[in-house]
Symmetry: C2
Subunit: 334 residues, 2 copies
Amino acid sequence: MTVTLKDVATLAGVSVKTVSNVVNGYAFVKPENRRRVEEALAVTGYRPNVGARNLRRGRTGFLALMVPELSIPYFGELAGLVITAAQKRGWSVLIEQTQGTRSRERETLSSLGPHLVDGALVHPEALEAADFPADPGGIPLVMLGEHAVDVPIDHVAIDNVLAARTAVSHLASLGRRRIAAIGRNPERGTSSQRLAGYRAALAEAGLSYSDALVAPAEKWHRSVGSAAMKSLLASDSPPDAVFCFNDLLAVGALRAVAELGLRVPEDVAIVGFDNNEESAFSLPSLTTIAPDKTALAEAAVDLVHRRITGDTTSPPQDIQTPFGLEIRESTRGR
Amino acid sequence: MTVTLKDVATLAGVSVKTVSNVVNGYAFVKPENRRRVEEALAVTGYRPNVGARNLRRGRTGFLALMVPELSIPYFGELAGLVITAAQKRGWSVLIEQTQGTRSRERETLSSLGPHLVDGALVHPEALEAADFPADPGGIPLVMLGEHAVDVPIDHVAIDNVLAARTAVSHLASLGRRRIAAIGRNPERGTSSQRLAGYRAALAEAGLSYSDALVAPAEKWHRSVGSAAMKSLLASDSPPDAVFCFNDLLAVGALRAVAELGLRVPEDVAIVGFDNNEESAFSLPSLTTIAPDKTALAEAAVDLVHRRITGDTTSPPQDIQTPFGLEIRESTRGR
DNA sequence: GGTACTTTTTACATCGTTGGAACAACGTTG
DNA sequence: CAACGTTGTTCCAACGATGTAAAAAGTACC
């Protein structure tokens, strides 16, 4: 059924190795033989057995990508870009979902054998320093997004503190004085970074911080954003602006405001984070922090590529990719 | 560096095969030896080399999933469910993106060697009958979503014609008389099926079909939906309802209506298709056809599993998974 | 103690590929 | 024409695992 090098060799009347040499572009093959081998290759429709090749070469040709859930737009978009970037360098991408739980993350991390994949890009959500094995399965690991803790591992992300500060400063510059935040979650590194940026911006604008204006969010989903917004608006002195830690929360918040009969941005201005594709089409469209996801994916794949192809000595990199503030109707109005 | 069976065997003082037997749960191993092997396994932290094992077993442990783009919510959600379903059966999933172009789809299809993956789930967009190799790389193939043409290949999808008819009947039942459609695209099988359902529902409701009410859409993206809606509303006798062939088009349409100062559903009722998570949170929320994506993913993985594990004789299956109509504000109002 | 049987372990070949060394063929050179 | 370097090819071992078959050890019975 399946064609192997041996079959091709028999047909072409040469040794297996010669065929292998032709397949791998080895220079010194007699033109006559090369021709015959190529013909035999074409006739049989030979395809290398990737597993066997990699067994021999000690490579797998696969890259793992660990994310919480593909159904979350940010991760769907990011995964798509990672796959594209990896493909350019000859890798196929294997996706593992963790649902953002620490146990699944730890499990996934420890299951990444060097035989399964050549390297891994991981986007942890709940992982802690102790969860990182000293030697993560013997393969290069690159972390995406925020790290909760200090681990000497390659890392690519935007400057979350600065990005959050930028978002909140924007709200302050519009004259908003009661700026709330939605998304506090002590178990997520990203949350504390964005919270830090939020506080920094408040301080900068001469506004005082109040716990009452910071709504927690276990999951950063739309429904949670909606509920959080409602409870903020139900307070005695409701906010006149909200910084949501991601776009899903913001979309939920938009909806909550509308359901209560208030207007965005007149009554409440809203800023999100991630620039999901849907955010440009919500009503009103959403002002948001726009990370350069392509740059992020490229940088991460590039880094893991460098590590895999030899660079094991240089110290862990910490790469920051650019972001922008996309100003739309939810703060600017129509 | 890497621990192999041999290392474990040396440490435990038994043969390689005995270790292999323990690892694979072979019954006849002396308790004493089993204990020592297990200890050695634990000490060394042995992990099987998947590549080598599969080389020997003739399996790869991978399943391919071919989709247009992960950044499209429907495919992100679907991919997530497929990965989960595959994982239950011990497979890892490899994702290939085609951008929905015929050339990339064909290329992907032909690159799926039996060594790379055990089977593949493909969601073609533009592929035609001729593109399907008689023997698709020697591995089981299951098609997801609509086939443009008749190919004797396993297939899992919802009844698109019926679903579209359901959506449009709903609009007609609300008393709408000028029901438009957005998404015509002769190169996509899905489009013609949904169009057929649309026409069937019109006929059933005693409404006449008019080409002027059917807007084409090359890509089924939000921006296209918005543009299409605007041009429909600019006509002499604008529609009072629109059936969009997917939720992205519908979200774009929602926005267009709002930008023109009209109201949904009072002036124009809108129905989408796919039930993307975002559709429950748009303003107004979107009435849409809700395919049971979990059932779809499960059925597809199950089918490819059956094919891989022996069932090669039974004729190509054509499985229909259930769907519902999710009625929300875009047709019902607040 | 020998035979027959079962349980347990081992040696060996094998999956499809590639690296390295050995070997063969060739034209050049002294 | 012998010695030599270059080019092209083949043979063999190896990657890490498992299936097969045969060997070894153990048990039961006569």
